[in-house]
Amino acid sequence: MTTLSPSAAGALPPAAPTRPQVRPPSLLVASGIVVRRNLIHIKRMPELLLDVTIQPVMFVLLFAYVFGGSIAVAGSSYREFLVPGIMVQTIVFSSFIVAIGLTNDLEKGIVDRFRSLPISRAAVLVGRSVSSLIHSSIGITVMALTGLLIGWRIRDGVLDAVAAFGLILLFGFGMIWVGITVGSWLRSVEAVNGFMFTVMFPLTFVANTFAPTQNMPHWLRVVAEWNPVSALTQATRQLWGNAPAAGSDAAWPLQHAPMMAVAWALLVTVVFAPLALAAFARRSRD
């Protein structure tokens, strides 16, 4: 079809006779192309990565050196306690990344452009999700390296360590649906920013991420310990050997942290995946 057609300068190459062969790509191929496009964005604007690099590193340093001295942690050093917390915060914020990316594409008409092509509508979402997970994984890696520098260690077996990273990614998968829901529902990047900051900061702070829950007022402690973020944080700490299992005075989810981390991730997915698909379909309809 398009074997040899050196473009003769000036001349209009006939479109009809040499109409190239087109075979609409499968969902997998289309998603891969979208992922590649999203990664080019990161390459062009490395500052997009600030949210998973400089920012959390700054958090680590702030907490470790400024507040660290005054936060007592049972059974381990504060720094060792802190690093898993920051990693969990990073993965929770992956919903933020998805939402911003999606809203941007919706606002700029890119989603409409994609929808006019012979590809599955899901390709935009799958591509966005995968690239956001890659984005967050870069952050997790940076956190792990920073952690190693300031004294965080993986103290248990390799299998447990891998399981902890697996839990983080699984949770990230759930958070992506939250991001798609928010990104489809809110109509501008500014709105997404405002909303996500308001929701994500309490969600990641009213938890055991940066300080133990034991010293919180009772009602807050209950809220914090039932916060899905806490179960995930506790689970990773346990699996990496950074903290002992939760005591019997902790809320039930914390006492069964690894299992509950999985359960919360699945629950978030089950609740938000249909919401996300509906919101996206509604947003990209008219």
């Binding site: 398009t2 473009s7 006939p14 496009r37 062009r44 409409d112 006019s116 012979p118 390709a123 008219d286």
Partner: protein, 334 residues
């Protein structure tokens, strides 16, 4: 292949809540022809295009593109068509070449095919030099051209262009028209929306004028102009002092003469080209100097403004309901 039109809209309606954006639009575009959807802001052009391109489901009515129903066979429609939306939808962080790669690959071109086709389009749209620059650095016109190039990457048989030349300078506009003519020569069907009458006149085989979501008129550019009335003889005298004299002179020949003193202009409805010669001789004989004398055919502007009523004041005698086209004056306009 069967003998279906490239695009067929039947009684398309679109409501947005209480807003009726499109209110029963029907037309048909034969293959290999160009249809212009002409209408003022808010007429429903974009909404119509979005329904035809599967982006927005019609509230009622049906449409077929390349023989496929836009509602039930969206995938087949998408395979056959290309779309350039009203707002440029190129990816700002990608280079021109990467944009072509992205849409080309997603349209189903093979990795091998997409590169030469992209290079060729960059060349055709004079973007070769900027091919590897990030689109963010492009000028508005360059973006617009890239947007168009991108919609052509998979050589769609039906191409929808929503105000394709908005924001282009006159030179780029004419270049683009040339490209579009080339596409039509090669068998592509075009549906374009525009607010520029000249553009519709230049490019379109048929024009559908819409406003408030309704079709006001349709036909070839010539038919529409005939509908708007006959040509007129227009004389601009040099000396405003002799306007009265000139008017009397014109009244000898025409039943009705319309005078615009400020413009020193006299207008009368013409019966034919001979009128121009007669009037010319008379002015010479009477020794009344003229700046301009000629035949003015109603422009599509007149048609458009007549139909949509969006012009504040007419600047000539509005031809009344007199529509026998007993003479064709193509090309005689001054």
């Amino acid at each position: 292949m069967t003998d279906h039109p490239a695009v067929e809209a039947v009684d398309l309606v679109k409501h947005f809540g209480a807003t009726v954006a499109v209110d029963g639009v029907s037309f048909s575009v034969p293959r290999g022809t160009v249809l212009g959807l002409l209408g003022p802001n808010g007429a429903g052009k974009t909404t119509t295009v979005r329904m035809l391109t599967t982006l927005s489901p019609p509230t009622s009515g049906t449409a077929r593109v390349a023989g496929h129903d836009v509602r039930t066979e969206a995938a087949a429609v998408r395979r056959a068509m290309g779309l350039t939306g009203q707002a440029a939808t190129v990816d700002e962080l990608l280079t021109g070449r990467e944009n072509l790669w992205l849409i080309g690959r997603l349209s189903g071109l093979s990795r091998r095919a997409v590169r030469p086709l992209g290079d060729d389009l960059l060349e055709r749209f004079s973007l070769s030099d900027a091919a590897d620059r990030v689109v963010k650095t492009y000028s508005g016109g360059m973006r617009r051209r890239l947007d168009l190039a991108v919609s052509l990457i998979a050589s769609p048989s039906v191409l929808f262009l929503d105000e394709p030349t908005t924001g282009l300078d006159p030179r780029s506009r004419i270049d683009l028209w040339e490209v579009l003519r080339g596409l039509v020569r090669d068998g592509t069907t075009l549906l374009l929306t525009t607010q520029y009458l000249e553009e519709a006149d230049q490019l379109c085989d048929d024009i559908v004028v819409i406003d408030h979501g309704r079709v006001l008129a349709s036909g070839t550019p010539t038919q529409l102009k005939d509908q708007a009335g006959r040509a007129s003889v227009v004389v601009t005298v040099s000396d405003p002092g002799r306007l009265d004299e000139a008017e009397l002179l014109m009244r000898d020949c025409f039943a009705e003469v319309y005078v615009e003193p400020a413009a020193r202009k006299l207008t009368a409805q013409a019966r034919g080209l001979a009128d121009v010669a007669t009037i010319g001789q008379r002015f010479v004989a009477a020794d009344i100097g003229v700046d301009d004398l000629g035949l003015a055919r109603p422009s599509l502007d007149d048609v458009f403004l007549n139909l949509t009523g969006h012009r504040a004041e007419p600047d000539g005698p509005e031809p009344e309901a007199d529509d026998d086209p007993d003479h064709q004056l193509e090309g005689a306009a001054r």
